[in-house]
Symmetry: C2
Amino acid sequence: MQNNLPELAKLLRYYSLISTTEAGSGHPSSCLSAADLMAVLMFGTSRAESRGTSFKTDLGNHENPNNDRLIFSKGHAAPLFYALYAIATNRGSPSVAEGDPLYKRAMEPEEMLTLRKFGSRLEGHPTMEFPYTEVPTGSLGQGLSVGVGMALNAKLDKLDYLTFVLLGDSEMAEGSVWEAMAAASYYKLDNLVGIIDVNRLGQRGETMYGHHVEAYAKKCEAFGWESILVDGHNVNEIQAAFLKAGQTKDRPVMIIAKTFKGKGVSFMEDKDGWHGKPLSAEELGRALKELGDIDKSLVGEISIPEKSERQNVGMSETRQMKFTDYDLTKMVATRKAYGNALANLVEVNSDVIVLDAETSNSTYADAVKKNHPERFVECFIAEQNMVGMALGFSRRGKIPFVSTFAAFFSRAYDQIRMSALAQSNIKYIGSHAGVSIGEDGGSQMGLEEIAMFRALPETVVLYPSDAVSAEKLVFETAKHQGNVYIQTTRKEGAILYNQDEAFPIGGSKTLKSSENDVATVIGAGVTLHEALAAYEELKKEGINIRVIDLYSVKPPDLDALKKAALETKNIITVEDSHHEGGIYEAVAGALASVSSLSSYKVASLSVKKIPHSGKPEELLAFMGIDRTAIIKNVKEIINQ
Amino acid sequence: MQNNLPELAKLLRYYSLISTTEAGSGHPSSCLSAADLMAVLMFGTSRAESRGTSFKTDLGNHENPNNDRLIFSKGHAAPLFYALYAIATNRGSPSVAEGDPLYKRAMEPEEMLTLRKFGSRLEGHPTMEFPYTEVPTGSLGQGLSVGVGMALNAKLDKLDYLTFVLLGDSEMAEGSVWEAMAAASYYKLDNLVGIIDVNRLGQRGETMYGHHVEAYAKKCEAFGWESILVDGHNVNEIQAAFLKAGQTKDRPVMIIAKTFKGKGVSFMEDKDGWHGKPLSAEELGRALKELGDIDKSLVGEISIPEKSERQNVGMSETRQMKFTDYDLTKMVATRKAYGNALANLVEVNSDVIVLDAETSNSTYADAVKKNHPERFVECFIAEQNMVGMALGFSRRGKIPFVSTFAAFFSRAYDQIRMSALAQSNIKYIGSHAGVSIGEDGGSQMGLEEIAMFRALPETVVLYPSDAVSAEKLVFETAKHQGNVYIQTTRKEGAILYNQDEAFPIGGSKTLKSSENDVATVIGAGVTLHEALAAYEELKKEGINIRVIDLYSVKPPDLDALKKAALETKNIITVEDSHHEGGIYEAVAGALASVSSLSSYKVASLSVKKIPHSGKPEELLAFMGIDRTAIIKNVKEIINQ
């Protein structure tokens, strides 16, 4: 153990205080309670000592697959997180010559004064701008799930890095934390260490349990974790706790630390009213006097992990993926095609990992289990933790394919939102879209998910209508770097495309088209089949309509939409979902931005009523999104 | 205790089996495991017996405020839920003459055969169509939160009804359940009884803990509940458990029942592969043979609660609400105005109850605490449970005002979705909208919530831009029967309106208008102020623009939008959120449906990049949604 840990903790406090005062905002009191814990975690053991739980990382190469991982789930303690790297050094880093008197620093301490300023890497809560951030945090209760994903990734890849997660006591009220707790013990993650900074005070007063650390211990133990109670300001106790954590087998460890918010500054310590409040210049002066002499030349040493290669890197040749040879006369559900595609994909891409929340026999994610059970992670009915785990996998280089009923992704929208801020590489697959699922009723019908995913930055939304395009879109999705949502359908449908068709992201398919089209009908999923049926009926009466498969809902194919608006004037979108934020608004929104268009109209056939149980056909009719409704709408246009 | 409980349970099994076979879908095996538990709960004590936990309800008046409440959190056991009412009777119901030989039946048993059929009240999962449904369920893990709300409502209103929640073992993996567990013990809800039907099997195999009922008991106890283990098929044990539950003080009780999925049908019992699968006609024949003789004339007796009046009904005269008299020269944040309005509202409407998730000093929901601390429910950082509780309150006649940072409503989107299906009366208030919150960064910025709430059926979305309209919209929201989302802003802003202005839902305000307007700029929240600033700048150069305050985002004011499109041709929407599903698409979507419009264009100024930390002004500029961006856009239009 470095014998200057209290001095290092003091330095962390110093940077936490001066940076927030300089910024004029931030959460210094929440940093001060955890400063001793983090000083010991990162700098508490020298390189020579046995593994224990000493933190190891290559500061010059954050992507070294054997680096330990530290997630600040209490993201508002960001200044402390940055301060750790402001004083961290690697002795003997490969990028520093042997015998160099200067340590390799992660960053210059002066950068701390850019905290929260526009353009700085040091944002108000950790983001991907800062190179040592594992995932963006700040929406509380999400970090542990990410840690579970990273720790499980280490197990699967036989890597010996450890994952540490710093949690606030307030965020222990979030259910997502307990989903993660259950999953971590189920998967026996003895390479995962949580640290709860029990500083008693939340944003607006005392937490549910105040300083009753035993309440947390009881819960952690009931959820299958080893729990260790410590005085969070006693470096020896903390050190002992980390050493003990390193010796625990087959279960994760939670270090539950009794701390004081604002520790080290008498007028802030354990006092209410100091959440998210920086010190004034005058207060800072007083606080620094209390801290005493600061040695800014001090550095905290971190060792570099021995190994730096992933152990089981395999082939990742998505372009060689095979496609299922469908009998074009048979009906196939797109969810079934998803399962087929997934099974094909894992054969050629060893980075793909499949997660599902107790629905894999319905989403068909279970298709992967036949030949590659090791690539499947059962997440039970805990969608939030599933998405958090996926984010952890994604940040460690995996390509997670995450599935459940479309409707139940709404359960994890905050986690999905944070995965967008992480600019991760997660593929979300929601089955059972829309009222066409039938008898199970409204609670199971995915009607908001197109809107939900479209609203997220840099997120692609795909909605295949047949088995061939579903498989092709899984292929495109695997190749695409970024978050993608694919919506699949419960109901079986006819196959529309030949195997040699390409389905690029951002494209569309114009399935029916003539020079006499009186309207363009745009659909995706089950409604495209209704549009094609309407086409056949109308054709018998000598009426031509254009039919477009808008399989890429975001980004949409603006050229095809413009052409349709110009040539047919009337557009009808038909969707088995609410139209707000859905296909209608995607189309109307895309067209409204085009100045060269003269008068056109878009009509919305969509789910505008509270849904019910019934046969799929009855429900499509009830909502006015079936072939009959399309035909009626087209005829109204003609008779105007 | 009725001595025919096993016979009644058999009848429940009978109806569960025949109804699902007739429907051709459904979850009979999940009904059979809980049949004995539910038979004892509802019919296990006679009217003469002491309170215990015997179920009391007035079948003729489900809104009787003293009726006990039963929530099927495992909503897929809906046939069992309906079957309870198919055999339930009230002896001595007020609507049945004394001495009438016929019991008052809740429904005719024959109706069971309409299960899952289009138009039937008996949907695949319980919905509000069935009069005895407390809340729609089917998205697992939500029922207990609703129960917590209902039980806390009883405490606050000094009513002595009990709340029972039937949970599946699979759904215990949902974090929301543990949020509810913590809240129930924090609020010492000894009028709440949970029953976990531990039937070991989930949808695709064994649950996390299988039949290890002790694992559940340990967790429940760690969360502050009394736990009682029972054999879920032994009516005497179950009866004893309910009696014990009735005697527990100051803490909620969880009855943890070891059961067998498919109990009573040998070829289904405890067997995998029977989830969500009805029996074929042949299988049904065999199953009914195993059940043995069925006496369809049997009825289950339920007593009627003694009292039928709410104890503390007060005035609910929203129309007499007073409004704050603002100094029109001062800057006020709309979140502050929300607090003021709330304080005014609770003075005149005793049904209003205020919930907040540890952010009340930021959302200003804490304004209500000054004069009415009893109307404020602290929910800690557990947004899912907060919304579930609000749904419970709403169903018991309260008007919950629920607040947190806008971004964190994404955490509870599934619960909010279910509240829409419940057609409840909840008012959601999200503060800290958009990048204009500044330094805290992306994780705290509400950018998706307009899209999220707009996508829900029958939900109103309001976005006030100044303190006066914010207060007026709180007033409109209280008067409106239904779910409403109000978005408020962190930043202070000028007051735009006089006290005598009205702000009806569906309206808008055209703040600037002339015959020479070259474009219409539509904003709400912080962007409206930018639009007004742009107006002043442009006016100096002799350029006129129209400025519309679209405070009612859903429904929008189509007349004002049409007029603007007709008269100015160019529309620019400016919003501090992503445009997908936001104000841009609300406007473009509304206009695209109008056939009489000739060529017009809508431009979107919105958040199109990953957000960062910085000063509000810097971020508005970075995203291109400030006055400068508006001016640039208008000039481009002129120079086209």
